[in-house]
């Protein structure tokens, strides 16, 4: 039987101050850079035009820019995309977005005609066009925020029903940490915040909760066994008991995200980055955010002796279990 980190007895919680320090530093740096260097929203959210072009022969970004400036499309961002025959043109500033209020296609049509005039109509092909008017953009922004808030609310309610409010609150704080952490990561990596990235963010939310729930499930179970030990011990025990599972699950999940990151292409890469980071932060927060917060809540609002109702329903099996759990094999 191959075993990884089996029957461990690490004192995870002891290091929570260090962990809190590290995460606080990361969040501060991330959020700080958020102010210095505002996040890169995709045109879905800001409105604007994105075009992916393929030229028949290698073209220079400077020449494309010159043609666009002369043709009245000022301030467009031009980026090489893969080979030197493929470029993306992005017109995202306020003036372009405003032009698109009357019809989202206007700027795209202008870019096309200007470039075809400059390079010749059969010398370039338009592979992809995305043009979003300002109204659609603002609606999507609102939709994304509402979606995140509602997921929070729903999971809070569900966890409150399945666990008790202490667990739910701790889980939500941990998840909140992950969302902020992921946003900080996105900013530091200078990834573009698109709808897909927001979907990735919500998936991270689900994944991180998932992880917290697994540990809390163990805590709930260990509490029911009615051991006479402080919650501190129970938390550590639960984390240690679920450790092999955590390692295995994160390994398989990472296998998927890394495959996406390397092989699935440019369009999916930001999403894959978000998920890869999410797996790490989700694991981290389950242990170092959710558990300490639960401990803190417990100290602040201690449960009365009688509320551990499950202490009376200790089963014989779990008693035996307890005696062997500490025995090393």
């Amino acid at each position: 039987m191959l075993r990884i980190l089996h029957g461990t007895n690490y004192d995870f919680i002891r290091w929570w101050k260090w962990a809190a320090g590290i995460t606080a530093a990361f969040l501060l740096i991330g959020l700080g850079s958020l102010f210095i260097n505002p996040p890169n929203y995709s045109i879905e959210f800001t409105g604007g035009t994105l075009m992916q072009l393929e030229f028949a022969s290698p073209a220079e970004a400077g020449r494309i820019r010159g043609a666009l400036e002369n043709g009245g499309v000022r301030g467009a961002e031009i980026q090489q995309f893969g080979s030197n025959r493929e470029y993306t043109v992005r017109a995202q500033d306020a003036s372009h977005v405003q032009t698109q209020a009357g019809g989202a296609e206007t700027v795209a049509n202008r870019i096309e005609s200007v470039l075809k005039q400059q390079f010749g109509p059969d010398k370039l092909r338009i592979i992809r066009t995305e043009a979003v008017g300002p109204r659609v953009g603002s609606e999507l922004r609102r939709g994304a925020i509402i979606a995140i808030l509602i997921s929070f609310l729903l999971t809070l309610i569900y966890l409150s029903i399945r666990f008790e409010w202490r667990f739910a609150a701790a889980a939500v704080v941990a998840t909140l940490h992950d969302i902020i952490g992921t946003v900080a990561f996105v900013t530091l990596m200078n990834l573009e915040i698109s709808l897909t990235v927001v979907a990735g963010l919500l998936t991270v939310l689900g994944y991180s909760l998932n992880d917290t729930v697994i540990i809390f499930d163990r805590v709930r179970e260990n509490l029911r066994k009615g051991r006479k030990e402080p919650l501190y011990e129970t938390l550590n025990r639960s984390i240690n008991e679920t450790l092999p599972r955590s390692i295995l699950t994160h390994a398989t999940a990472l296998a998927s995200t890394v495959a996406l990151l390397i092989f699935a292409g440019e369009v999916i890469r930001p999403f894959a980055w978000v998920m890869t980071f999410g797996i790490f932060t989700g694991t981290f927060s389950s242990i170092y955010i959710a558990a300490p917060i639960l401990l803190w809540i417990e100290q602040k609002w201690p449960r009365r002796a009688g509320t551990r109702q499950s202490s009376s329903t200790v089963t014989p099996t779990s008693r035996t279990r307890r005696s062997t759990a500490t025995a090393t094999r």
Binding site: A253, L254, S256
Partner: protein, 551 residues
């Protein structure tokens, strides 16, 4: 539940899934040699989103820039019908036209190669009117008032060139100097003065821009003055002074007289003698004199009315106005016209004639529409995405298989068998619910492969714990599944809640992602709890004396 029943359920579902995913022949609209025909095609019944197969996505909303629309909901319903009819005739396989929210129409055209043309067909109002040109010289009568009104008035951008430059224009231009070449020179000098002066009305500001044409109600405007005159005509004061009961419409074409290019503008009776609503048919044609044309036919009611009206207007000129543009030069009415007529395309190609005929047949849009969002993806890019997605997926599967079998050995093999069924079930569920597979959906699916084994891991770890307690294999397996249940259910439900929210608030590609996530959760619950359990039971059944379990 007996073992046989369990196996029956698993393989029954697997068979059903295979059947659901098997390539089948379906009757589809396909484009062949420019014609739309129904034909049988063989394909896997998994629908690909536009981002994977290439095509165009348009989101349209009511354009209120030229006046507000009263009942939007009703207007959008009617517009939806018109757009649908047009798209059905346009010639795309499997188009999608649907309402989104209360005020938007979504049009999806897979595999479209000429997005601009498609957009034109969708957006054209196609409001056809037949109007008699003005015979009363109403505009000439109004000219002095128009000139007086514009004299000294600043029509430029606010604050720019506020000072009228009257002195730069020598003499009072007016009706009398309308046709002299002299006026246009003066106009030129006035225009070149400064940019501000261009926007500033001087004496004869209006009349100097126009020249009498060859038929009543027809005027020519130099191409360079078209913008200025358009701006004048939009001024509320000017609108008030324009002759009542008349409308002013630009021609759709330009004409060249001598060295300069002109655009005709027409003063027409505001009340059309007939509109396009009585049209029954329109088809493109080509005539030796007029080039490309669209021939149309009125229904009986329309024909009667058209005959009556035209017989009252013999020797008058009739303008054919499409979307407020006069098409071709208004012909003179020789005798009463019945049910047939034609629109000349004025040098535009046959394709344009075809498209115009199409939109005329489908009827006019009740409200103008504008594009709120457009996404267009080339088919090659979509193909490329699928290819890369499959590569990433295969590598993810290989890694997951390696980890699971490497760590859990025999139990890992059972989990991998479960994973294979998971993939099969998920894809079948997507096909069954007619879900659309998008690029984020594909990514979500690959991700779910790595996450789906989580339930297996939870169970296997529990079984290991139970075995470590010295329990028999059978009891350990039972206890392992039972104890892992609450964690599995709780974690899957929280993920499902998130996916449901994404589905509710997401659009297009993200929705595809949410759907794959939801299908994946259901399939993973089923395979981990039921399928892999059954595999264990089969194994226990076949080797009941087993002392060790490779896990």
């Amino acid at each position: 539940m007996s073992l046989k029943v369990r196996l029956l359920i698993i393989f029954g579902l697997a068979a059903a899934s295979l059947w659901a995913l098997f390539p089948r022949t379906v009757v589809e609209r396909v484009k062949r040699n420019g014609e739309i025909v129904y034909d049988t095609v063989k394909r896997v019944p998994l629908k690909k989103g536009l981002d994977l197969q290439g095509g165009m996505h348009l989101s349209l909303e009511i354009d209120e820039s030229k006046g507000s629309v009263g009942n939007k909901t009703e207007a959008i319903e009617r517009a939806l019908k018109v757009v649908r009819t047009r798209i059905d005739e346009f010639g795309v396989a499997e188009p999608l036209v649907q309402k989104a929210g209360n005020d938007r129409i979504i049009v999806e055209l897979p595999g479209i190669d000429d997005p601009r043309r498609a957009q034109d067909v969708v957006q054209k109002s196609a409001f056809l009117e037949f109007q008699i040109t003005d015979e009363t010289q109403a505009l000439e009568k109004a000219l002095p008032r128009l000139d007086a009104l514009l004299k000294g008035k600043n029509v430029g951008a606010a604050g720019v060139g506020a000072e009228p430059k009257k002195d730069s224009i020598a003499g009072a231009a007016g009706l009398q100097s309308l046709l002299t070449a002299d006026t246009s020179k003066k106009a030129d000098s006035a225009k070149t003065d400064t940019a501000a002066a261009l926007l500033t009305g001087g004496a004869g500001a209006f009349s100097k821009l126009i020249q009498q044409g060859q038929m009543p109600g027809e005027y020519y405007v130099a191409q360079k003055d078209v913008d200025l005159l358009t701006r004048y005509l939009a001024l509320p004061e000017v609108v008030n002074v324009l002759p009542p009961g008349k409308v002013v419409r630009w021609s759709g074409d330009t004409v060249s007289l001598g060295n300069s290019i002109y655009r005709a503008i027409y003063v027409l009776d505001a009340k059309p003698i007939i509109t396009g609503e009585f049209l029954t048919d329109a088809k493109p044609n080509n005539s030796p004199q007029d080039g490309n044309i669209v021939e149309f036919t009125f229904n009986n009611v329309g024909a009667r009315r058209f005959r009556n009206e035209t017989s009252r207007h013999i020797q008058d000129y009739m303008a054919i106005v499409l979307d407020q543009r006069v098409m071709g030069r208004p012909p003179v009415i020789q005798s009463a016209i019945g049910s047939r007529g034609q629109i000349t395309m004025g040098g535009k190609d046959l394709q344009a004639a075809q498209d115009l005929a199409l939109v005329l047949r489908a009827g006019s849009l009740p409200v103008p529409l504008k594009v709120a969002e457009v996404r267009q993806i080339g088919a090659s890019l979509g193909q490329d995405s699928i290819q890369k997605g499959i590569t990433a997926g295969l590598i993810a599967i290989a890694l997951v298989v390696f980890i699971m079998i490497g760590y859990y050995r025999f139990a890992g093999v059972l989990a991998v068998a479960g994973l294979a069924l998971y993939i099969l079930y998920t894809l079948a569920a997507l096909a069954g619910f007619d879900a659309v597979l998008t690029l984020p959906g594909l990514a979500g699916f690959i991700l779910s492969i790595g996450i789906a084994v989580d339930a297996n891991v939870l169970i296997f770890e529990r079984i290991r714990e139970e075995l470590a307690l010295g329990k028999t294999i059978r009891t350990s397996v039972d206890e392992g599944f039972r104890n892992a249940m609450s964690a599995i259910v709780d974690s899957e439900v929280t993920t499902a809640l998130t996916a449901a929210v994404l589905y509710q608030y997401g659009t297009g590609p993200v929705r595809g992602f949410a759907v794959t996530l939801l299908a994946g959760i259901a399939a993973s619950l089923f395979t981990a709890i039921f399928v892999v359990r059954t595999f264990f039971l089969v194994w226990l059944h076949r080797s009941p004396d087993s002392r060790t379990l490779s896990i």
